[in-house]
């Protein structure tokens, strides 16, 4: 155990080697670095989105449909007829994403996606609470918060599945799009799909960690750093969603 003792004594001093210039363990550092590079992957997709979006004329201004107003069943067709969905104009997102489960006939723009955002932010909170409980070595608290996080993640995935289904049901495909330029649908599928894939892997990781917590693996190890690392990943997924939300739905 010689080296471990060394490390503990080195901690407060300023020598060059033997310890991180960042005061983080290499495991956390690796997670940070990975997230940095993953941020670039997402950026590349969002950059592709920005480029293509900017090479199209802006959405046509919508003066017909107000939020919460009643709309017909075949809303897309109506918009097509009204000239709001045309091939060479980017569609206004509020006209595309205006559904809510179990509610028909009402124009609810972006309500559902706001709910999704809320779910994801909330699961981030439970995650960070789990991390915090980990610092205090409260096994039970950690486990409970982890479970909540997993439920939040699963709920988000479920929402996304519903949104995709609706979107596809309305005729959106990778190669075609009733709302306007075909790139719109393709980019939507790619970006949210890639994000969804990250959420999915996050949920899987969370489940593994949750089981380990229940098993007492980290209790035995003496620290809950693994929870922290997965937590970093989970918050990153949340972070990406903030930008996906901003770029895809708001702008």
């Amino acid at each position: 155990m010689a080296n471990t003792t060394n490390l503990s004594t080195d901690k407060k001093t300023a020598w060059g080697g033997g310890k991180s210039p960042f005061s983080v363990s290499y495991g956390k550092l690796m997670m940070w670095i990975f997230l940095l590079s993953d941020a670039f992957t997402f950026s590349s997709l969002l950059i592709a989105y920005g480029f293509i979006r900017y090479s199209f004329p802006s959405p046509i201004e919508n003066t017909i449909v107000k939020p919460l107003s009643h709309v017909a069943e075949n809303f897309t067709e109506a918009m097509n007829k009204a000239g709001l969905f045309v091939q060479d104009h980017w569609p206004a997102p509020e006209l595309v994403f205006n559904h809510f489960p179990f509610i028909h006939g009402i124009h609810l723009p972006l309500f559902f996606v706001s709910l999704m955002t809320f779910i994801l932010i909330f699961s981030s909170v439970t995650m960070v609470l789990a991390v915090e409980a980990g610092h205090r070595m409260q096994k039970k608290e950690v486990a409970n918060y982890m479970l909540l996080t997993i439920i939040g993640g699963a709920a988000f995935l479920g929402c996304q599945a519903w949104e995709w289904t609706t979107f596809i049901h309305e005729g959106a495909r990778l190669y075609g799009n009733p709302f306007g330029p075909r790139s719109f649908a393709a980019l939507f599928f790619i970006v949210t799909g890639f994000h969804g894939f990250h959420v999915f892997s996050g949920v899987v990781l969370n489940v593994i960690i949750y089981l380990n917590v229940l098993n007492g693996t980290y209790e035995k190890r003496g620290h809950y750093e693994m929870v922290e690392k997965v937590g970093l990943y989970w918050h990153f997924v949340d972070l990406v969603w903030v930008f996906v939300f901003t770029f895809f739905y708001l702008i």
Binding site: T9, W15, G16, G17, S37, F40, F51, S183
Partner: protein, 612 residues
């Protein structure tokens, strides 16, 4: 085999039996992984070089039939004539192999793995398991690429830059079918490999240095590997995103990169709305840093080799670090100089031109610092040193032509001509190969515990240098005459056909260079198995790797990891008898870094040696 436990019971490695598989195949030891990278790289390099020989023959003798081609290439070489489609496939795969598989994985993979733990004083990488995965992803990726050579329609043939629509439309050329798909698969695996590697390298360098190894005491090799790893980490993901979109364009009917393509040509679905330029931006955002991912490790190796063999400290250590960092940062904002004429906004052309020409400053600083290191030195002209000097020469020759190509205005007539081919083969191809060779000759004793044959090495060097210049220097003039690259033959143009003599000269020089590599290969494998046993520190070098025992040892040092008291370049320091002072030797009266830090006398030494 967990890394951190090794700190404590590295000497117990006799207890758990290493099987053949865990030692040589799924090894987690960084030294073994570095050998795996090197040997895979050498095999891929040989393949890439053989390909270049085949298309060089075609370029030099466009009217001749070589019956052996039919034997090698089958229907691609019917009647001994190289098929034009396969010519494109060859240049594509040659480029891919050389850029990614040899000079990225083979060079930086090998030496990062070998040197990072040894030179910073760590038992192994931060995560040996990820390190092993990194190699196996690389292996898989090479296997996929090699496999793609045998599919119907041939391997990818859209050039190594795989610009869509050529690469996005399976019908565009034969190579855009399965071959292209496999190319993309291979690339995605490669990116995974390089990310796994890169994360590991950075974490190891930052977190696992031995005591006293300040960042400002790191050898320049490590600095170069650090910046290289960061570059790879930030740029490869962008290619990943780009490739992903390309996969969708190819296989799922999207049109991210396609616009105004008629349905008949695009597999039944009309494609419109995307932009081919977008891919080029995403590609070159990787592609340009990639050039430095290739070059920086070579420059790092050169710094170390030149300092050691000049018996002089590297001149301007801090300036060298500064220029590595500057090159690293600048490399991210200049990618557009590959795209001046692609239909990009000319204003962006101006922005990119500015950034590009600025890169010449740190490059010039590096060159002058090398020259200053040689000045008044005591040069040991070993093969490694000769290759390092050769690198500097090639770096100058190839770097200067970069000033033409980085200038948007001049690029108008030089874009995609042989001038470009000459430029990048000198500055990034040959120079990086020279760096790799220099590294192999220098660290061979460390890798295999044996010495390489010097005479063979020197012959290898001279033949390689002469052939590199004979092959690539004349190409500038072809470029200035407007001969485009990637032409199967120049026979359709009278004004290009005058270069047929030059093309023959180049091909003969290339064959000579190829033969020189045979000398190297024989020397390498012969020495690895039967070479003379290497002494502990054959080049009287200062760095830590020469303090570790020659034998393969998982954990690198049998006892405690040496502590570091000085920078890596105390060569010929006045007041010392020896002309080198290893990093782990304290000056008279210099306290141990541990003591310096804690104010306690070192307690560990006795405990550590007693504990086993």
């Amino acid at each position: 085999m967990s890394d951190h436990n090794m700190n404590n019971h590295h000497e117990d490695h006799g207890h758990h039996k290493e099987t053949f598989i865990s030692k040589y195949i799924f090894s987690m030891d960084h030294k073994m992984i570095s050998r795996q990278f090197l040997i895979t790289g050498i095999i891929m390099g040989t393949l890439g070089m053989l390909m270049s020989m085949i298309f060089r023959l075609q370029l030099a003798y466009p009217d001749m039939k070589f019956s052996f081609l039919e034997g090698i290439l089958g229907h691609w070489g019917k009647d001994g004539k190289l098929d034009p489609n396969f010519y494109l496939a060859l240049i594509t795969i040659h480029g891919t192999i050389m850029v990614f598989f040899v000079l990225t994985a083979g060079l930086s993979g090998t030496f990062s793995n070998l040197l990072i733990p040894l030179q910073v004083g760590a038992r192994d990488m931060a995560s040996p398991f990820m390190n092993m995965l990194s190699y196996w992803f690389f292996f898989l990726s090479s296997a996929v690429l090699v496999f793609s050579l045998f599919v119907d329609g041939g391997p990818a043939s859209a050039g190594w830059t795989v610009y869509p629509p050529l690469s996005a439309l399976p019908k565009a050329i034969p190579g855009s079918g399965t071959g292209m798909t496999l190319w993309l698969v291979s690339m995605i695996l490669f990116i995974a490999s390089s990310l796994l590697g890169g994360i590991n390298y950075i974490a190891t360098i930052l977190n696992m240095r031995t005591k006293g190894m300040k960042m400002t005491r790191l050898p320049l090799t490590i600095w170069a590997f650090l910046v290289t790893a960061v570059l790879g980490l930030l740029s490869f993901p962008v290619l990943l995103g780009g490739s992903l979109l390309l996969v969708f364009d190819r296989s799922f009917g999207t049109s991210f990169y396609l616009s105004e393509i008629v349905a008949e040509f695009a597999g039944g679905i009309e494609r419109t709305g995307g932009s081919p330029i977008l891919f080029q931006h995403l590609f070159w955002f990787l592609g340009h840093p990639e050039v430095y991912i290739i070059l920086l490790p070579a420059l790092g190796i050169t710094s170390e080799v030149i300092a050691t063999n000049s018996r002089k400290p590297i001149f301007g250590y801090r300036a060298m670090i500064g220029s590595i960092l500057a090159i690293g940062v600048l490399s991210f904002i200049v990618w557009g100089h590959h795209m001046f004429l692609t239909g990009m906004n000319p204003f962006l052309g101006s922005v990119f031109m500015l950034g590009t020409l600025i890169i010449a400053v740190p490059s010039a600083v590096k060159t002058f610092n090398y020259l200053a290191t040689l000045w008044q030195g005591n040069l040991q002209l070993t093969p490694a040193m000769m290759f390092a000097i050769g690198l500097v020469s090639l770096f100058i020759s190839g770097g200067l032509t970069g000033i033409y190509l980085g200038n948007a205005a001049l690029d108008i007539n030089l874009h995609d001509t042989y001038f470009v081919v000459a430029h990048f083969h000198l500055v990034m191809g040959s120079a990086a190969i020279f760096g790799m060779m220099s590294g192999i000759y220098h660290w061979f004793p460390r890798m295999f515990g044996r010495m390489m044959n010097e005479t063979a090495g020197q012959i290898h060097f001279w033949l390689t240098l002469v052939s590199a210049y004979c092959v690539f220097f004349p190409m500038h003039f072809m470029g200035l005459a407007g001969v485009p690259r990637r032409y199967y033959a120049n026979t359709a143009y009278d004004q290009f056909n005058v270069f047929i003599d030059m093309n023959q000269f180049i091909t003969i020089a290339a064959l000579l260079g190829g033969l020189a590599q045979v000398i190297f290969l024989v020397n390498f494998f012969y020495s690895a198995l039967k070479g003379k046993r290497a002494p502990q520190n054959p080049w009287n070098s200062n760095t830590l790797e020469w303090t570790a025992p020659v034998e393969h040892l998982h954990g690198n040092w049998p006892g405690e990891i040496p502590h570091v008291y000085r920078w890596a370049y105390d060569y010929s320091k006045p007041g010392h008898n020896e002309d080198f002072i290893p990093q782990n030797v304290p000056d008279k009266g210099q306290v141990d870094p541990l003591e310096e830090a804690t104010g306690l006398p070192e307690p560990v030494k006795t405990e550590n040696s007693a504990s086993h």
